[in-house]
């Protein structure tokens, strides 16, 4: 990375030096929701496999971007990691403790270390509470605020950190704009001094000119407080801007995971290639020259995922083997992992599947 800009250069080197400690380790995480029939006697007739076996590590101080289209399970992943849902299977090891395997009291104490920023700043703030009580509530719940006075001071300090006027403490959410509300949500997440924050589409409800304000705020906070982010979004341009590594999800599975630049310069999975080529670029000269990979059809239902590879119904490079077996999530070098038979070494000997370069 070449940066002339002193401030952000400091940030990136600071981040890179701290990226060797695993903060969170997700192993074969599954989140299935039952489909039931009947009103009184409910019986399960199937399940929505929202997240179906995903594995990744998150390093302290890094930002992992989780991208995918609606319904791919990226938000469910975020919630299942924080144990807002009880995962069907798998382990979530955070700071050395398996969150799926501890009692509720311990879990509550762990929640101080991990927080969430929600997508919709209009729905995620209680309209009857003042900003002071919204941001102060976590302090009260975890009994870390001290006296009322100290608590109020802490809240005002937090408001200032996120760029809001501390005198707004007695106002209600409706008195704020969308961007300001999202700042309140950020202040609430920061109240308990977490080390890990799940950002669930934190900017997609905001106007373009306001999005950049919130992205910059999140970046500043990360460099000041050494936060670790799981940044969930569907906007690939934004994810690329903010993330160190990126995981691409499709129908409940991670199909590709790589360093930011590697993923954008050398996407391997056909879905990643299609996704990247579909992102419009705000430059007419570039747009004229681009070749789009237009995927046919829609995402299959997660209640009945196809057999074999999940993507085989839409894949432009589908092979016979894809309809029968599921590709494993293999490392193709330097932490670049992909779940596709085109790159599965054993199969590559038999199949002459050549990766097709994407025109970006």
């Amino acid at each position: 990375m070449t940066t002339q800009n002193s401030n952000s250069a400091d940030v990136s080197t600071a981040q890179e030096t701290t990226h060797d400690e695993v903060l969170l380790s997700v192993n074969n995480l599954k989140m299935h929701f039952p489909i039931t029939r009947g009103i009184i006697l409910q019986r399960q007739v199937g399940s929505i496999k929202a997240v179906d076996g995903i594995t990744f590590d998150l390093m302290r101080g890094e930002t992992l971007g989780l991208v995918g289209e609606s319904g791919c399970g990226k938000s469910t992943t975020g919630r299942a990691i924080l144990q807002l849902y009880e995962p069907t299977d798998g382990a979530v090891v955070f700071e050395g403790q398996d969150l799926t395997d501890i009692n509720s009291g311990e879990l509550r104490r762990m929640r101080r270390r991990m927080q969430m920023i929600f997508q919709d700043p209009y729905a995620s703030l209680n309209p009857r509470m003042t900003v002071g009580s919204i941001v102060g509530e976590p302090l009260e719940v975890h009994k870390i605020g001290g006296s009322r006075r100290e608590q109020q001071q802490r809240v005002q300090e937090l408001l200032e950190i996120v760029g809001l006027n501390p005198y707004f403490i007695n106002r209600y959410p409706h008195e704020f704009s969308g961007g300001q509300r999202q700042r309140i949500g950020v202040a609430r997440a920061l109240a308990v001094n977490p080390s890990f924050i799940v950002c669930d589409e934190p900017i997609s409800a905001l106007d373009v000119s306001i999005q950049a304000q919130v992205i910059n705020l999140l970046e500043d906070l990360q460099s000041e407080m050494g936060l670790t982010y799981l940044f969930i979004a569907h906007d690939l341009s934004v994810v690329r801007h903010i993330s160190d590594r990126i995981a691409v999800m499709y129908l409940g599975k991670i199909v590709e995971l790589a360093d930011r630049e590697v993923l954008y310069e050398n996407p391997l999975h056909p879905y990643t290639q299609a996704l990247l080529s579909a992102v419009p670029i705000p430059d007419p000269q570039v747009e004229k020259k681009r070749q789009r990979i237009i995927l046919e059809g829609d995402v299959p239902s997660p209640a009945e995922p196809p057999t074999g590879c999940n993507f085989n119904t839409r894949c432009p490079q589908v092979m016979d083997i894809c309809r029968q077996y599921e590709p494993s999530f293999t490392d193709v070098g330097e932490g670049h992992r992909v779940a596709c038979f085109l790159y599965d070494e054993v199969e590559a000997l038999n199949e002459a599947g050549q990766p097709v370069a994407v025109a970006a």
Partner: protein, 340 residues
């Protein structure tokens, strides 16, 4: 190309309990036959209201078109009565709405919803309209169109519903298609399908398109000409290459700077537009962008700049000459924004 529609000094306001909302404040533009014009702006910029006013889809009250002319094929649409207007809406000027989930009637089959316009405008009988509906669904790429005609909207996915909306919009061969954020509710891969479809249909059918969006990326690959709106005014207008190559209004510049680009190296830091858009209940007399503008001069606070031609093809509403400003400036200040 001849102008298909000429909008002159269009002004739309909403009379609410809190006062008058100045949604559209005198906009003037033309759309030529077969041309694609994109109207870009953020929520509340008046882009949807401005276009809805053309075919008088503004609820009255509280809304009212207080001033202006809309010349379409020699008639002023704003002077027509309801009956005359109905001959044009859905027939010669069609519209696709943003949200395919809510803009289809859930209790009517897709077939019924498409054939309604055909029977109404083209006086087709049941068999003819059904045959035409199947043809339209095939045109927009819905597989097994004949069977799907009797399905209800909930049986279609979001992208498929938007295709149905497009089929309905195209049913009477409109001369002008108004698309109000047709891809905003869709995923990127589906968005690419729809943009691809609309561009293909336009080259086949030759209609003009007004495409309303907040996404500068979509516009770049789609439009011939761009209008940028802010606080109910057109602040910049011109061919798409020119506007993106060298924006001449600070708001357009700010928009381009505040979005990360997938194809460039990682930008060090995004440059947001500070502050918030003005309250349209009480719009300032000055330039509406002045409080957020990094290039502001005294004149901006005294007089709101009109849209002025700066070359044969483009115009901008700004007193300051931005012709030397680079879009992706590397030496920009690093201020932490203070929102007060």
């Amino acid at each position: 190309m001849a102008n298909l529609i000429e909008v002159r000094n269009l002004q739309t306001q909403f009379f609410t309990q809190d006062g008058i909302v100045h949604a559209v404040n005198g906009i003037t533009y033309d759309v030529a036959e077969g041309e694609t014009v994109a109207i870009v702006g953020e929520s509340g910029s008046g882009k949807s209201v401005g276009v809805m006013s053309l075919i008088r889809l503004i609820p009255e009250p509280p809304g009212k078109i207080v001033n202006g002319e809309v010349n379409f094929d020699g008639q002023d649409l704003l002077k027509l009565n309801e009956e005359e207007l109905r001959q044009i809406r859905g027939n010669r000027i069609a519209m696709i709405f943003q949200d395919p989930m809510t803009s289809l009637n859930p209790v009517l089959t897709i077939g019924r919803q498409i054939t309604e316009a055909l029977e109404l405008h083209l006086n087709m009988n049941r068999e003819e309209s059904r045959a035409r509906a199947i043809e339209l669904l095939e045109l927009v790429g819905i597989p097994d169109a004949g069977a799907r005609l009797d399905d209800y909207p909930h049986q279609f996915s979001g992208g498929m519903r938007q295709r149905v909306m497009i089929a309905m919009g195209l049913s009477c061969n409109p001369q002008l298609l108004i698309a109000d954020e047709p891809t905003t509710a869709l995923d990127v891969t589906i968005q690419a399908q729809i943009v691809d479809l609309v561009t293909r249909l336009q080259s086949e059918l030759g209609m003009a398109i007004i495409w309303i969006t907040h996404d500068l990326g979509v516009v770049a690959g789609l439009a011939d000409r761009v209008l940028v709106m802010y606080a109910g005014f057109i602040v910049e207008e011109g061919p798409v290459d020119v506007i993106y190559g060298q924006p001449r209004h600070p708001y357009t510049l700010g928009l381009l700077r505040s979005i990360p680009r997938l194809d460039l190296g990682r930008q060090k830091r995004l440059i947001p537009i500070e502050g918030l858009p003005p309250d349209l209940l009480d719009p300032p007399q000055s330039c509406p962008f002045a409080p957020r503008c990094p290039f502001v001069i005294d004149k901006c606070l005294e007089e709101n700049p009109p849209l002025m031609a700066i070359s044969a093809v483009r115009s901008s509403a700004c007193w300051v000459d931005l012709s030397d400003v680079e879009i992706y400036d590397t030496s920009a200040d690093e201020q932490v924004e203070a929102v007060a």
